[in-house]
Amino acid sequence: MKTLNNNGEEKDQQEANRFLYRENDEERERGEIIPTAITVRKLSKSFKVKEKRGGFIGNLKSLVSAKTKIVTAVDDISFTIKEGELVGFIGPNGAGKSTTIKMLSGILFPTKGSIRVLNYNPQEERIKLTQKIGTIFGQKQQLWYHLPPIDSFELFSKIYEIDKKEYEKRLKELVELFEIQPYLYTPVRKLSLGERMRCEFVASLLHKPKVLFLDEPTIGLDIIAKKTMREYIKKINKKDKTTIILTSHDLEDIEALCPRIIIINKGKLLYDGSMEKIKDKLSWKRIELYLDSNKNDIPVMKDVKIIEKTRYKITIEVDRKKIALQKVLDFYLSRLKIVDIVIEDPPIEKFIEKFYGK
């Protein structure tokens, strides 16, 4: 395996490589075959970012003497993922989730560390690896916008060199699984986001990928479509034993799908373990109550924290372990004239803050 560092830190690199092989060798020596889909050792990624001074003069100065700073997007993380696992990869914006996923899939080059995905080096063997993995980026589409999905599926069958009979069989299976028969011949531009995402899944699964990277697959979907999408993700994980790495801002996605989660923040790995262990930390809900008139005396309820109060809006936080949401809503609905209610998860930053107490 070639070293991937570019900062002269060959020692770290060699150590990471030794670790990688030592683990596999030990397993082999013990005669155990533990199928590992992904191994990441001491992985780091830094970007050089240009800094510009503000204002006209500042911009002119930047042209002559440009300042750069090094931003570390991923900082020395290690983990392994076994075949068939469904792992949630969470963290706030800029945490380094997508950068890690892009390094795992081979399109970004690490600054330090080593990666093996299905025993391939993603950077050196990207084209071979892409034959075995699937990716869905919630905000990017791979289907041809003006054409019906069936045309894109045909193209992907050729790109992935799928035998015609095998393709027809697989397509039939996936069309039934994702219930997309009615949209097969409708141009993609005329599909709703939920329908399009289902077709995106079919496109990514035609070649039976062993590892599936899902980057915000439910972004922009309504509650029902999200729920349906989660069911599909569960089904493919169960049916094909596909290893799935899911990144999402939506903690409900992660809670509903992932037995194991990896939390990453500011490039560092904060937690790698079971969902069960931290599930109680996800019991918080944030509720926004919109009032029809300004009210100064807000009724106080035990175990309910008032976060913010403006003229026509009250924001409260509720710990569902201590008190049922229904009870809280009944309490406020009976005492205030409420015109609208929004219930949401606390932002992921808050969750991490609560989890680590910082």
Binding site: G106, I127, F137, Q139, K140, W144, Y160
Partner: protein, 263 residues
């Protein structure tokens, strides 16, 4: 087996281009209007002269019609689109498929070249026909013309892709696109055939790749000779190799430092 994926990609690109016929027709009509104005100016410039610099009025009009069509079909818009794909992160989807990225780009641009050539070509040739009538060409030269047109498409791809891939290094390639379009317009033989320039200028620009992109295919179309064909063919091969090497160098270097914005 490998070539089948590129054939399928070429097929779907053509399908996609013809799925929104109105857009294609609109650009074809636009070319028609530009040509109509442009060619009328040339007709006035000839003012009864039988031939200028070896071109009759019929030849110059058909020359310009073909040069204009090649310019449109060469797809400089790809420079902007690829820059945009790099900026918004769509590049990731393309890199996550089991194909050669350069092969995929070549296929898309060739398919675009063919579809735009057909759409704008029909309209441009109709305009030229109504202005000066039919041009007489020898049927035996058509296969050789197609070879030179194919060479122009591949050379156009290598030049445009080299500029477009600079987006892996710099944020905005719009300025490069602007400069390239002007060079093509003046030094590619799109404004006037090279023969109309002073000898000194001709001696410089005749070796540029843009000359083999537009001037030679259009000149051979109206003025075919075996000597010119050999010169144009060899020139295209040499420039395809040079620009191809430059393009691969930019790609190999650039792809290692790509940030994939939004990551």
């Amino acid at each position: 087996m490998k070539y089948k994926k590129y054939l399928a990609l070429g097929k779907i690109t053509l399908l996609d281009n013809y799925s929104h016929v109105a857009d294609s027709l609109f650009s074809g009509v636009f070319v028609g209007i530009v040509l109509f104005i442009f060619l009328n100016i040339w007709r006035a410039a000839y003012a009864g002269e039988a031939a200028v610099e070896g071109f009759t009025i019929v030849q110059i009009i058909w020359y310009l019609a073909l040069a204009e069509v090649i310019a449109f079909a060469s797809g400089t818009g790809r420079i902007e689109r690829l820059g945009e794909e790099i900026r918004n992160g769509s590049l990731a989807s393309a890199l996550l498929k089991p194909w050669s990225f350069i092969g995929k780009e070549l296929t898309i641009m060739t398919a675009n070249f063919i579809s735009i050539f057909i759409t704008t070509g029909i309209i441009a040739f109709i305009v030229a026909y109504f202005l000066v009538g039919v041009i007489h060409i020898s049927l035996i030269t058509i296969p050789f013309m197609l070879i030179i047109l194919g060479g122009a498409a591949i050379l156009g791809f290598a030049v445009v892709a080299s500029f477009a891939l600079l987006a892996l290094w710099i944020e905005d390639v719009a300025a490069i696109l602007w400069i390239y379009q002007k060079i093509v317009f003046i030094a590619g033989g799109m404004l006037i055939p090279l023969d109309f320039y002073p000898i000194g200028v001709q001696n410089i620009i005749q070796y540029l790749p843009t000359t083999f992109l537009m001037y030679w295919p259009a000149k051979l179309f109206v003025h075919f000779s075996w000597q010119n064909f050999t010169y144009a063919f060899l020139g295209q091969i040499i420039w395809i190799i040079i620009t191809g090497v430059i393009m691969m160098f930019i790609y190999k270097k650039g792809i290692r430092k790509v940030g994939i914005y939004g990551g």
